[in-house]
Amino acid sequence: MMYGLAWDTSTPLAFATSILPILLIGLTVTVKAALAGFAIAIVMGLVFALLRRSRIRAVSWTTAFVVEFLRDTPLLVQLFFLYYVLPDYGVVMPAFLTGVLALGLQYSAYTSEVYRGGIDAIPRGQWEAATALNLSRLTVYRDIVIPQVVPRIVPAMGNYAVAMFKETPVLSVITILEMLGLANMIGEQTYQYLLPLTMVGLIFLLLTLICSAAIHQLERRLPKAGVPLK
């Protein structure tokens, strides 16, 4: 019994229908973590990409180092570090926040590379026209660069969104009760692992397919020239 919901192990079908609501509760945690993590990755990836282009060497080099560090250390290590080491230094965060931050930061390192590639692909003439019009750097990025970068990076960003979604079960190691963690607990209590784990796999598969299709649609809908400004 979990969340006040009892399971029925009499037949496989009864078992499946009785644990589905429990897994769906876990799924809401999974989805929330993935959405929040990806929101962080989209914003921080851009911040990293812009800082890396800073004219101040100390800023661009530090950023490059941080990005490299985030990319080259396992998510699990970062997760343990944030959850078990930081409290020793007085930084205590709830498990969910910690998990979302770790996911978001690691993926920021990936998305910052995607942004970087997208920004580098903007033709030089666009920057020169912007300079000739005396636009500020803020305006150049907001009105000229970002709208043109978006359609180019949707496919790569979509891949990372899906990858991050599939990586959320790792959060169970810091006690977050997401879908896989719950399935595992059901297994421990009923000695039946096959069905709960299969169901988790199928739910992931289904959602990943939906996600990919949505990204593909977005990709097709966005004009190649950029997000239109009237």
Binding site: P123, N134, L135, P147, Q148, A225, L229
Partner: protein, 265 residues
């Protein structure tokens, strides 16, 4: 001498553009060496010369797209210098922006913003500089009228011909009301049948008394027609300059003669 040289005239009228001993290098390649050049307010000057002679570089330095290594550039009263070798010194962004206020540029490849409507391309800079939207759009529509594209305001650049795109680019450059307008081979990327419409627009601008124009072009007949002064460039130096009629009729320097023969042939 009865007649003052055009350079002396420019000098007398407190030039709007002045290069003083400007040296520009790309690595080991020196493109401009101790280059001095002045343009009077309202003057229409054409730079001609073989490819690679440094004409674009002069325009790009004026537009602050290229730093330079030595000398001083004065633009509309704003001094701008970058002493010390290897481009180590950069003028502050604020200073560069003050200089850029005076200048606009039309590029060979148009460089319109592809994700913006024609109207937005033209209103973008004024709006970013605080002009209210309605006023910026009013101004843009006037400019579109001027370049003969009032009916295209909601189109996107990809829906226009090259000639139309370049006319929009001219309107866009004018929207910031620059005192100096630079044209770097504005018709070189166009199909021959589209050159005329762009030259027509530039010709009408040449009648604007207060607008200073610096034009790089290979359209010699056009240069002769609209310029107050033609400068023949070779290897980063002005070899010969003067009244267009005189330059094209009887060039004095053998290099000028050879160049004109090759392009007019």
């Amino acid at each position: 001498m009865a007649m003052q040289s055009p350079a002396a005239v420019a000098e007398a009228a407190a030039p709007i553009i002045r290069f003083d001993g400007v040296t520009k290098r790309f690595g080991a390649l020196t493109v401009l060496d101790d280059f001095s050049f002045a343009v009077a307010p309202g003057e229409k000057v054409t730079l001609i010369g073989p490819s690679g002679s440094g004409k674009s570089t002069v325009l790009r330095i004026l537009m602050t797209l290229e730093p330079f290594q030595e000398g001083t550039l004065t633009l509309g009263g704003h001094g701008y210098h970058q002493p010390g070798g290897a481009g180590a010194f950069r003028a502050s962004e604020k200073h560069l922006r003050a200089i850029r206020c005076n200048v606009g540029m039309v590029f060979q490849s148009f460089n319109l913003f592809p994700h913006m409507s024609v109207l937005r391309n033209i209103t973008e800079a004024p709006r970013a500089h605080g002009v209210p939207r309605a006023e910026a759009e009013g101004r843009a529509l006037d400019l579109l009228g001027l370049v003969g594209l009032a009916d295209k305001k909601d189109h996107f650049p990809a829906q226009l011909s090259g000639g139309q795109q370049q006319r929009v680019a001219i309107a866009r450059a004018l929207a910031m009301r620059p005192r100096v307008l630079l044209f770097d081979e504005p018709t070189s990327a166009l199909d021959p049948q589209l050159v005329g419409e762009v030259l027509g627009v530039i010709r009408s601008l040449a009648h604007e008394h207060d607008l200073t124009m610096l034009l790089v072009t290979h359209e010699m007949r056009f240069a002769r027609e609209v310029s107050d002064r033609v400068c023949f460039f070779n290897k980063g130096r002005i070899v010969e300059q003067g009244d267009p009629e005189r330059m094209f009729r009887s060039p004095e320097h053998p290099e000028t003669r050879a160049f004109l023969q090759s392009v007019l042939a």
